[in-house]
Point group: C2
Chain length 141, copies 2
Amino acid sequence: MKQSVSLITLGTADYERAKAFYMAIGWSPTMDIEETAFFQANGVVLVLWSRDKLAADMGVADDGARWAGVVLAHNVASNAEVDGVIEDARANGAEIVREPSPTFYGGYAGCFRDPDGHVWEVAHNPGFGLTDDGSVILPQR
Amino acid sequence: MKQSVSLITLGTADYERAKAFYMAIGWSPTMDIEETAFFQANGVVLVLWSRDKLAADMGVADDGARWAGVVLAHNVASNAEVDGVIEDARANGAEIVREPSPTFYGGYAGCFRDPDGHVWEVAHNPGFGLTDDGSVILPQR
């Protein structure tokens, strides 16, 4: 297996609500077909699709759980940008589960949950490189 | 919010087991520090970290659920490569939740769960472009 993640699919209980939320905070679908939204991002593609269909297609039993230990991070270049994204998410109905504050690794981060409960960390980490497209470049050892 | 995903963190109940699994199927940590493994991938960084610490750090209540509607896809260039990755995952103890088979979108895919229950789809999708680093390029409309 090559070291790559091609797509990240977030299952949703309400497709229109999920798509409206991501568009409200700045995402624009590259493709929107048969109630599936594909957002071309940095290397990966983020996808919104029916959680029921996703579970069936993957062969996974779905008990409707809200969190199973997955977090997506969106890194930015300054603490002020963290505050800005968190306020925008809040204004669009996201639950802020961690108010922006210093982190144990010497950065600054806030966390929100999207309307389906998926967790995003919005972070400024001065220890990591960050490209213009939002990709983190780890320090070389 | 820019259209980017910087890191994907998979919470684990057993760090050494999780790291050993990903290394067995071909991933190599770029950084491994304080029981946190960072794998530089295409644009994104995949991270393995304690699920308990992740929940606490994000401010999320964790009820131990096994699936909350998130799937990571690893796209490859042929059906034979799908079979190869799935067999490698199976040989290393992954649960195969979908045996490799044709998909509704005209591709071919199999799905496995890692030792913590995180779901991966391994897919060949002839309708999408695929770069050498495993990134999907959506068709332009």
